[in-house]
């Protein structure tokens, strides 16, 4: 396959509860709308559903390239919230991320979660980077407060947690070694869970990449650099989206201590990681209309 110079890699596998393909469309539409370099590759198991929800012309406008891979053989159930009052479980097929280095057709790749909306042009600053690998370890919520304590370190006295939400990598030795490690950690997840003492039984790429970075850095604090905007603005699962416009998003942000209280928060030209996935899916039709036409 001919190597492409630079682009975005989105990995999406649908399940019975969540339409990750639609989320990938939302993410890709915001990339196309706000970035100068916006070549996008979708990695998925089939194009059947995509062809049902969009015309060929629309698909061509949203994705430049589609790579078909096997659906992950994974039993990973995640608890989700949609507002503080609705809780549900859904399969979470996320273990292909470790293979992104091999899958990516690009010399330089930005690997994005499909629930990440690109509303400013920060990623245009990233290409031709002097660093081979970039990942962020800071996240704040819509109220500009640091994210939950358990999302800062893998355990109370553990290593710092990196967010695998956005990753930049070049085809390079460092990036290859990190991704090779993530595959090894993925295959021996239970061992590393006990070693690094992280909570729960959910397979999380954030943990896998944090451990890989810790190992590659010689088991000391990492020298791996972050993106130019080093903090990921993250919408909590219990928050909601009111509306998405071309350059801004209006949210209802709940108060964690008083969940019945919500405040309106408008993010203007600011990227955001949308953890309440159903709230993003509710915006799908409107986003297709707003961004595609």
């Amino acid at each position: 396959m001919k190597k492409l110079k630079r682009g975005f890699l989105l990995i999406a596998f649908n399940n019975s509860e969540m339409d990750y393909i639609k989320m990938a469309c939302c993410c890709a539409l915001t990339i196309k709308s706000h970035l100068k370099y916006n070549h996008i590759t979708l990695v998925t198991e089939s194009t059947n559903w995509l062809k049902k929800i969009l015309s060929d012309k629309e698909i061509e406008k949203i994705f430049d390239n589609i790579i078909i891979v096997d659906i992950p053989n994974q039993k990973n159930i995640r608890t989700h919230y949609d507002s503080p009052w609705t809780k549900f479980k859904a399969p979470f097929l996320n273990n292909k991320r470790a293979n992104a280095y091999e899958i990516s057709p690009y010399e330089e790749t930005i690997l994005l979660d499909v629930d990440y909306l690109v509303m400013d042009n920060m990623f245009d600053l990233v290409w031709d980077n002097t660093e081979d690998f970039l990942i962020n370890k800071n996240a704040i919520n819509l109220r500009n407060k640091k994210f939950h304590e358990k999302e800062i370190r893998l355990s109370e006295s553990g290593i710092p947690m990196y967010w695998a939400t956005i990753i930049y990598f070049k085809k390079s030795e460092l990036a290859k070694r990190i991704f090779d490690l993530t595959i090894f950690i993925k295959d021996n997840y239970l061992f590393y869970k006990h070693l690094y003492k992280f909570p729960g039984s959910l397979f999380r790429n954030d943990y896998v990449f944090s451990i890989a970075i810790h190992i590659i850095s010689g088991f000391v604090n990492s020298n791996i650099k972050s993106f130019p905007i080093s903090t990921i603005k993250t919408m909590d699962q219990k928050d909601d989206i009111v509306e998405v416009n071309k350059d801004d998003i209006l949210f209802l942000s709940h108060d964690p201590k008083k969940p019945w209280i919500n405040h309106l928060v408008k993010l203007d030209k600011t990227d955001v990681h949308v953890l309440n996935k159903r709230s993003l899916l509710r915006q799908y039709e409107k986003m297709i209309k707003t961004f595609l036409n």
């Binding site: 245009d124 600053l125 002097t130 819509l142 500009n144 905007i229 993010l267 600011t270």
Partner: protein, 114 residues
């Protein structure tokens, strides 16, 4: 509910929303002040603008500064770099100022988030 209490709660809601929007404007400003010049990325600041201007005034040809990752990078075209910094600075602060002025005039939640 007592009318005064209701008004106070409404005002508190407005104050909180206003505060969050002001914080978001500041963050947006920080983001806009990140500049890419000659494939180097660094934060634009008044200090850097003054420093580059001082170097130009003193006929210094090139300077080494720290990029956003604290790596040293050499800037050779100082005049060109200064122009780029000034554009970034003005664009960012003009947007910040205009949006801040709009927020200052907003007297209820609806206007704050418009």
């Amino acid at each position: 509910m007592d009318e005064k209490l209701e008004k106070a709660l409404e005002f508190s809601n407005y104050q909180k929303t206003l505060y969050l929007q002001k914080e978001n404007l500041k963050l947006r400003l920080e983001h806009m002040l990140i500049v890419k010049y000659d494939n180097n990325v660094f934060p634009c600041s008044m200090e850097l603008i003054n420093f580059i201007q001082t170097c130009i005034t003193n006929n210094i040809d090139s300077v080494v500064i720290l990029d956003i990752h604290n790596n040293p990078v050499k800037i050779n075209q100082l005049r060109d770099c200064l122009d780029s910094l000034l554009v970034t600075y003005h664009t960012a602060y003009d947007e910040y100022f205009n949006k801040y002025e709009t927020l200052k005039k907003a007297r209820n939640v609806k206007k704050v988030i418009l």
